[in-house]
């Protein structure tokens, strides 16, 4: 587990050792540390938009005692495009543009809320809305709990999440809206989170459109019919 202070210390250390300016985006639990939503995270998730900078960062991490780990050492299924670096209790997940199946969008870049400069390392913190959007692509209970914490302590701009979902559906993962719908549904039912009705209505509309696109009208009608029967 990495705490706020440890995370800052590692960034300072790496920033001081980097020979060239390197920019990255912090997402997930480590972004939550910057906002104060959490006090510790299992891994520090960083997204790079450029392979050269990622390589540069990895080389510098190695100088500080981190070693590359294979995905087989992990219990959950990690993304092959992600590079894992580990040192005792600290772990870095280094992504390049794609985060598992989600694309790191221009909208996420434009919405950054904090920028931290540690000598040659520039760390941009994605917005709370984007943290939630990125968490919906996974199936872990911990991620749902994190999303609940964010929603309960911040005013969330749900339109931003909806727009991001539409962008992802068009440019990245086709089923993103479907995943988001299931995620929101789960938060509403199991965690009793207060989510605006307008957003759910819009999302349901998008969800239906996406399902038709993915399955085709006939299969969608069949699926809707079985759902209706189950409910009745």
């Amino acid at each position: 587990m990495t705490g706020v202070e440890e995370q800052m210390e590692i960034f300072k250390l790496v920033g001081g050792l980097l020979r060239k300016k390197t920019e990255c985006y912090v997402i997930g639990g480590s972004a939550m540390l910057f906002y104060g939503f959490k006090t510790a995270t299992k891994d520090v998730d960083l997204v790079f938009t450029n392979e050269v900078e990622r390589k540069h960062f990895i080389e510098t991490l190695k100088e500080t005692g981190f070693a590359r780990k294979s995905h087989k050492t992990l219990k959950h299924n990690a993304d092959e495009g992600c590079i894992l670096m580990e040192r005792k209790n600290d772990r870095f997940d280094l992504f390049l543009t794609n985060i598992i199946t989600t694309k790191f969008s221009h909208g996420m870049v434009a919405r950054i809320r904090e920028k931290h400069e540690f000598s040659n390392l520039i760390v941009n913190v994605v917005s709370p809305e984007d943290i939630i959007a990125l968490k919906c692509a996974t199936d872990r209970a911990g991620d749902r709990k994190d999303a609940v914490d964010i929603i309960n302590s911040r005013k969330i701009n749900w339109d931003v999440i909806l727009e991001e979902a539409k962008w992802q559906a068009a440019n990245g993962k086709k089923a993103f809206v479907v995943l988001l719908f299931d995620f929101v549904d789960d938060l509403k039912d199991n965690y009793k989170v207060d989510i605006p009705q307008d957003f759910i209505k819009e999302l349901r509309k998008e969800y239906k459109n996406q399902l038709i696109k993915i399955l085709g009208q006939e299969k969608y009608d069949e699926l809707a019919e079985t759902e209706r029967k189950k409910k009745s």
Partner: protein
């Protein structure tokens, strides 16, 4: 009283009046609530136009961070205040020599105007040149220095640095995209870069 809920309800930038309106209470009560929220770490205070108090209220307690914020540094030293578009924390020592090129890099009219005052604090001109060179804004720094000299007491630049600024190669023709000056054409011509300010902008200095 549930202050967590209240903080979330008031999240954003508030004045006493707007907070009172949101909470549906009188001004005096709103002041008391804001004071309590401040005590619990949900509020940061700044001043707006006409010295009115502005309260930045967050749903989660503000995390005390190491490092200095660029916009705090500008606000501390300049009579023109800026509102941060996002938090920009620098975890090294920040100086005027470092802050001027950073402000120019933002390409934001008001931030650059506010940062003009920092020329008064510059002591190490080669250091300013080093930072400006790293960010590719030497010509802009040279032009703004000359403009600053017209309106405020600024130390004289050494000739070596002035020459370095003058001879710098840059493709940038504008400091702020598509903004040019009506009043400082002589400086623009000399430095071959468009200054975004007019005399009326500089009157505040």
């Amino acid at each position: 009283m549930n202050y967590d809920k209240m903080a979330k309800n008031l999240e954003g930038l508030q004045t006493v009046s707007s907070a009172a309106k949101t909470l549906g209470v009188g001004r005096r009560t709103a002041v008391n609530y804001i004071s309590k929220l401040k005590k619990y770490g949900y509020v940061r205070t700044s001043r707006g136009k006409g010295k009115i108090r502005l309260y930045e209220i967050s749903g989660v307690k503000f995390v005390k961070k190491s490092g200095t914020e660029l916009y705090d540094f500008i606000n501390k030293h300049s009579p023109i205040k800026v509102r941060e578009p996002y938090r920009y924390v620098i975890h090294d020592k920040i100086t005027a020599e470092d802050a001027i090129p950073r402000a120019i890099e933002t390409k934001d009219f008001r931030i650059i105007l506010a940062a003009m005052h920092l020329f008064r604090l510059v002591e190490d001109w080669p250091e300013l040149n080093r930072h400006a060179n790293a960010r590719g804004v030497q010509k802009a720094v040279g032009a703004l220095y000359e403009l600053a000299r017209k309106y405020m007491r600024v130390r004289r630049i050494d000739k070596r640095t002035a020459n370095a600024f003058m001879n710098a190669k840059t493709m940038e023709k504008f400091i702020v995209p598509n903004m040019r000056s009506r009043d400082f054409l002589d400086i623009e011509k000399k430095w071959e870069i468009h200054i975004p300010f007019n005399k009326s902008d500089m009157e505040r200095y």
